[in-house]
């Protein structure tokens, strides 16, 4: 089944935005980590995310066919045109929040990339084959921290629990289905998000069991990112991200 160009571009931008925005958040830690070893580990993850974002933007620009470059797409859209999920734009909070957010996202992306490496779309399959290796390390690294903090001191356990509470409303959005995700999955380009839930849940359950954490009920899941409705923090993030590009239109860097 053929997918429309609009659907494919929207799908690619959602994915690219997820990676760019999360990479941006993670890079805010650079130079401020709890220990030096982690000041190397977090940029490694951020660099993987930015690399994936670049590949996805380049491809989105190609498919779109309007001559937009990776930087045009990454830097020069308005806030309502960014299509990332809400979780990735959440402010870093403490180290527990950051590690849990990364763990959730990676636990979602791992089965996603695994399935996408058999995509009918060759370019996406190529991106996926590289990304799946990167993200399996992210699951492991961040999962270990969730365990370590959940089962560390009283303070770290309390902070980890607070992080679980705080991020719970943003989990369900990862699995949302709409016309775009359906068209893409029917064409065999990428897995339907909902189909990844059981894999995600089992990864989270395994880690939470070791971390003595419970998955909370989310009475009020939040949504809107895929339609470009973001949280208040997003505008500030974009103001920083776009600062130079907006101040000096048309310049080459």
């Amino acid at each position: 089944m053929e997918v429309s160009r609009d659907h494919l571009v929207t799908f690619l931008l959602r994915l690219a935005d997820d990676h760019l925005i999360l990479g941006h958040r993670l890079s805010e830690w650079c130079g401020h980590a709890p220990m030096l070893e982690e000041d190397l580990a977090m940029p490694n993850i951020a660099l993987d995310l930015i690399g994936q974002a670049r590949a996805l933007y380049q491809y989105a620009g190609e498919v779109e066919g309007k001559g937009r470059s990776e930087d045009d797409l990454a830097y020069l859209r308005r806030e309502r045109e960014y299509l990332n999920c809400l979780m990735v734009e959440r402010p870093n909070g403490d180290f527990a929040h950051t590690m849990l957010r990364q763990f959730y996202f990676s636990a979602f992306m791992h089965p996603f990339w695994e399935k996408a490496s058999a995509s009918t779309d060759e370019t996406l399959a190529g991106i996926a084959a590289k990304a799946v290796k990167e993200v399996s390390y992210h699951v492991r690294h961040c999962g270990e921290w969730v365990i370590r903090l959940g089962d560390g001191t009283e303070e770290s356990a309390a902070r980890m629990k607070a992080a679980v509470e705080a991020l719970a409303p943003y989990v369900d959005e990862l699995f949302e289905t709409d016309a775009v995700s359906e068209a893409v999955s029917k064409a065999g380009i990428a897995p339907a998000p909902a189909s990844l839930r059981s894999s995600f849940d089992s990864t989270v359950q395994r880690v939470f069991a070791e971390a003595f954490l419970d998955m909370p009920e989310t009475a009020w899941p939040q949504t809107g990112g895929r339609q470009g409705r973001h949280g208040e923090a997003m505008g500030y993030l974009l103001a920083e991200l776009q600062h130079i590009q907006r101040t000096y239109p048309g310049a080459v860097w």
Partner: protein, 95 residues
């Protein structure tokens, strides 16, 4: 080292299969899982290795440099351990 400091680990990397692990530096980590990940994140960012060993620094036993002479000098005079000590005519060929 004070009690509450995060211990030091020595890192050994195998650059590629067929070569031995070689000492390349150290990291601080609370346990072996963390030490392996830290070693990966610090010492293999430019494709330096295919396998990592980490060893608690405290587990390494080193020879005393004061004993250097008695340890290592006696070996220097045992020239008969080296192939060049033995005279074989060139006509015999490579041996």
């Amino acid at each position: 080292m004070a009690k509450n400091e995060i211990p030091l680990w020595e890192v050994f990397i195998r650059p590629r299969n067929g070569l031995a692990h070689k000492h390349c530096g150290s990291v601080h980590a609370a346990d072996e899982v963390m030490a392996l990940q830290a070693a990966r994140d610090v010492y293999t960012r430019r494709g330096e290795g295919v396998s990592i060993w980490v060893v608690p620094s405290a587990a390494i036993v080193a020879s005393d440099p004061e004993h250097k002479d008695e340890n290592f000098e006696p070996a220097l005079s045992k020239v008969y351990r080296h192939p060049t000590f033995y005279k074989i005519p060139d006509d015999v060929g490579h041996m």
